[in-house]
């Protein structure tokens, strides 16, 4: 047990090392001269030369990687060139927003996804099954930005119930905060619900046809008890792992939803930084979200390990 945990912990370091190389490498793949991109539409030649020198753009790649890495190891993620703010400050500023949005989205996704998954597995090949499938897949096949705009037009402009977009801190005004977050959380949660639903359904079908459930049924147990207590509990194990992964993805992957609802989270920050070639921001924020993601992953693995007795041994 302890050995397993230690082994898993030990994998953190090489994974993070690969992440750092990957992030750094990806940036180099982007076409265009970052100094020109940063200097913008007017790109005064002197300004371009200055940026070039400031970011060591003429120096060899390994050296530049080393400059960055040694900064990171000293806790310095650099400054955003575009708005002259330290990257650590940007991360701290956006962390609570991102976590709240991800958590709300996840709650919605779990509620919709597991319910629909269980229903469609239990009522397999009936109208219920198709309806649950169609509902979940609607979430999957509707681009987030599109659903977001429809919701805004309906709930904010037409009905006037919710603010169209923007973010309010929960410490300032909790009600306004929830009103602003509910639509983006639903849009994100809706998409993930589809994934959770599909996997719940699949896992439930497998468990329902297993000897173990057959035995429970043979014992004459109430079908509801069989489904909820015996089948679902077992089917939940992979769902938890998946949920943790999806939660990690939400931290940096909610780009278009954040853009439509003007939620200042990590996803939009990273993509804008990519397009502006604001290197320190891309590298710093992706490294941070990747670290969180990997840690969540690790925790999910451990949970899996604890719940699933077959894996011990």
């Amino acid at each position: 047990m302890q050995k397993y945990l230690l082994q898993r912990l030990a994998t953190l370091v090489p994974t993070l090392f690969f992440v750092s190389i990957l992030i750094f490498g990806l940036q180099q793949l982007l076409p265009g001269d970052p100094a020109i991109a940063l200097a913008g539409e007017e790109r005064d030649p002197a300004a371009v030369a200055y940026l070039r020198a400031k970011f060591h753009l003429d120096e060899p790649l390994p050296l530049r990687y080393w400059y960055w890495l040694s900064g990171v190891l000293h806790g310095d993620l650099g400054d955003s060139v575009r708005i002259q703010k330290p990257v650590t400050e940007l991360i701290l500023e956006k962390l609570p927003v991102t976590i709240q949005l991800a958590a709300m989205a996840m709650l919605i996704a779990l509620a919709i996804g597991i319910t629909a998954g269980v229903v469609s597995a239990v009522k397999k090949d009936t109208a219920w099954d198709y309806a649950a499938n169609a509902f979940a897949l609607w979430g999957l096949s509707t681009p987030n930005f599109w659903l977001g705009i429809l919701l805004i037009l309906f709930f904010a402009v037409h009905l006037g119930w919710l603010p169209a977009s923007g973010y309010v801190s929960p410490f300032e005004d909790l009600k306004a905060n929830l009103a602003a977050m509910i639509m983006p959380a639903f849009v994100l949660g809706n998409a993930i619900a589809a994934v959770l639903m599909r996997h719940t359904r699949s896992a439930m079908l497998q468990v329902l046809s297993s000897d173990y459930v057959r035995t429970a049924r043979a014992k004459g147990l109430n079908e509801r008890v069989v489904v909820l207590k015996h089948a679902l509990r077992n089917a939940l194990i992979p769902i938890i792992t998946l949920g943790a992964l999806e939660f990690g993805t939400l931290l940096s992957g909610a780009v278009l939803t954040e853009q439509v609802f003007s939620i200042p989270g990590f996803g939009k920050l990273i993509v804008d930084a990519v397009f502006n070639r604001d290197y320190s921001v891309v590298q710093g924020v992706v490294l941070f979200t990747a670290t969180v993601y990997i840690t969540l992953n690790l925790l999910a693995d451990m949970a899996y390990f604890l719940v699933n007795p077959r894996m011990r041994g």
């Binding site: 076409p31 002259q84 705009i149 904010a156 169209a164 397009f275």
Partner: protein, 498 residues
């Protein structure tokens, strides 16, 4: 009695609400340091934050702001400015001649400055007395006053700037009507009224919140649902839908910039790879294949005026000797035949904005009727700048936000080896004329030079100018006092909620 007090209560609450002005921006501004800044959208925030030596009025006249008077002397190589007395910065420091000298030198010398080109002809700045500065130029420079109406004319607090170093933009200290409170990247920029502002009588809000909302549909939704009082860059396709709504008002003015297609005629090898780059007749045929009126109607929902020069036909420097050519497909085909290229093909590098994509597709369809085979290559903006600089393009659909002085739309794009001359155009006669036009102060004489330049450029066509967009603003009908200046900035002086 009861209803009266209720009425009073209501009125009180609306007065409290109206003290904040919420403005929706189309992008998130970049750094708020006038020396380093480089985006159009940032200039909108600056116009509430940092006063400039001069300002522009609706007719593009240069009017006093921090400088109250100016005088040219020494064969137009010296500009003496009288400064407004009693002006203080947001940190309480005095705005005097030394501060002006400091700011101008900062613009010129700070590493990474984007103002260097604007102020290139300014050789030195002298403090004459506490409220007089003298700018010594290496050569007469007609656009200088116009340049000083923009970021190069913004004066920052020397004390704050020295203390903050290269992080001044995170907490800018200027002398505008509002001072900086906080900024959450991609979320909001909050400014509050500066009580000691020299022109405080013109300020009717306590706070301004700028909210970047990239999606135009969502920006409009925020206005319609009451979360915003004002939005910039309304989409042309949304005008018709909003017109019927009496709660809102739309304002517009033709921009000082232009939308055009820059053709690579001398920048690297690609210039020679297409008939379009090699042969001026092919470029003429290309221009003749375009129906600008239809283009504006379809691609811009009519929210633009057609044009064929670097300034719009409404501008005092528009050269009337070179009118907008009418579409003539037959003549275009004849020109192509004469050039020995009946079906010339080229790639049109197009930014990924929906406007640019629409324009490119309409141009593609129109030119096709004359025999052109255009391939659209959507290119993300940062990449496109680099490819343009390196000459790795054949034609480039480019929008320029524009400068108040015509030289700002012409010199950097058309003079030999100028920084943004990506078409690689270089002609001695044109260069000399551009030089004369920027060193001559007399408007009538300058206009004559621009007529000659327009005639030359119409022969060579390094850039095919298409049209000039309308700046479209939508706001609550209760908001009054908006001045529609063609530079597209939102001046907060005089704005009030009725």
């Amino acid at each position: 009695m009861r209803s009266l007090s209720l009425f009073g209560l209501l009125c009180f609450s609306c007065a409290v609400q109206s003290q904040t002005l919420r403005i929706g921006l189309a992008e998130d501004p970049d750094v708020l340091d006038p020396t380093m800044a480089r985006t159009f959208v940032g200039r909108i925030v600056f116009s509430a934050l940092c006063d400039k030596l001069f300002d522009l009025d609706e007719k593009l006249n240069v009017v006093p702001q921090l400088a109250t008077a100016y005088e040219w002397s020494g064969e137009n190589r010296t500009l003496t400015l009288k400064l407004r007395p009693g002006v203080t910065f947001h940190d309480g420091e005095k705005l005097d001649a030394a501060a002006v000298k400091f700011s101008l030198e900062r613009h010129k010398n700070m590493p990474g400055s984007n103002r260097r080109g604007d102020l290139a002809p300014v050789a030195s700045v002298d403090v004459v007395d506490a409220h007089t500065v003298r700018l010594n130029l290496s050569a007469p420079f007609a656009p200088l006053l116009a340049v000083l109406t923009d970021r190069a004319g913004m004066i920052v607090s020397p004390k704050a700037a020295q203390a903050a170093g290269d992080r001044f933009g995170a907490r800018p200290v200027c002398a505008g009507p509002f001072r900086f409170v906080e900024r959450v990247a991609q979320d909001r920029i909050v400014l509050e009224r500066f009580p000691e502002y020299w022109n405080r009588g013109a300020i009717h809000f306590d706070r301004i919140v700028y909210l970047p909302i990239v999606d135009s549909t969502v920006r409009l939704a925020n206005l319609r649902s009451g979360q915003l009082d004002f939005i910039e860059r309304l989409a042309g396709s949304d005008v018709a839908g909003l017109k019927g709504d009496r709660r809102f008002k739309i304002d517009r003015i033709v921009e000082i910039g232009y939308q055009g297609i820059t053709i690579n005629i001398g920048n690297g090898e690609r210039a020679q790879s297409t008939a379009l780059g090699r042969d001026a007749r092919v470029r003429e045929a290309f221009e003749l294949s375009l129906d600008r009126d239809a283009l504006v109607k379809v691609a811009m929902d009519g929210e633009a005026v057609t044009g064929n020069q670097w300034v719009s036909p409404a501008n005092r420097y528009y050269a009337r000797n070179v009118p907008i050519p009418k579409r003539d497909v037959a003549k275009a085909k004849a020109l192509l035949a004469a050039a020995g290229a009946a079906n010339p093909s080229f790639t049109l590098m197009t930014p990924t904005t929906s406007d640019a994509q629409r324009i490119a597709q309409v141009v593609q369809a129109m030119a096709k009727e004359a025999g052109f085979d255009i391939k659209i290559q959507s290119t993300e903006f940062s990449t496109s700048l680099n490819m343009a600089d390196k000459g790795e393009f054949e034609a480039y659909a480019l929008a320029w936000s524009g400068r108040a002085d015509p030289d700002g739309n012409l010199h950097i794009f058309n003079a030999c080896k100028a920084p943004l001359n990506v078409s690689g155009y270089c002609k001695k006669e044109v260069d000399e004329l551009i030089g004369k036009a920027r060193t001559t102060l007399d408007p009538a004489q300058r206009a004559k030079f621009y007529e000659q330049i327009a005639a030359e450029l119409a022969k060579d066509r390094p850039i095919v100018y298409l049209f000039h967009r309308n700046w479209l603003w939508a706001h609550a009908a209760k908001l009054s006092g908006l001045r529609t200046v063609p530079d597209g900035l939102v001046r907060v002086q005089g704005l009030r909620m009725n």
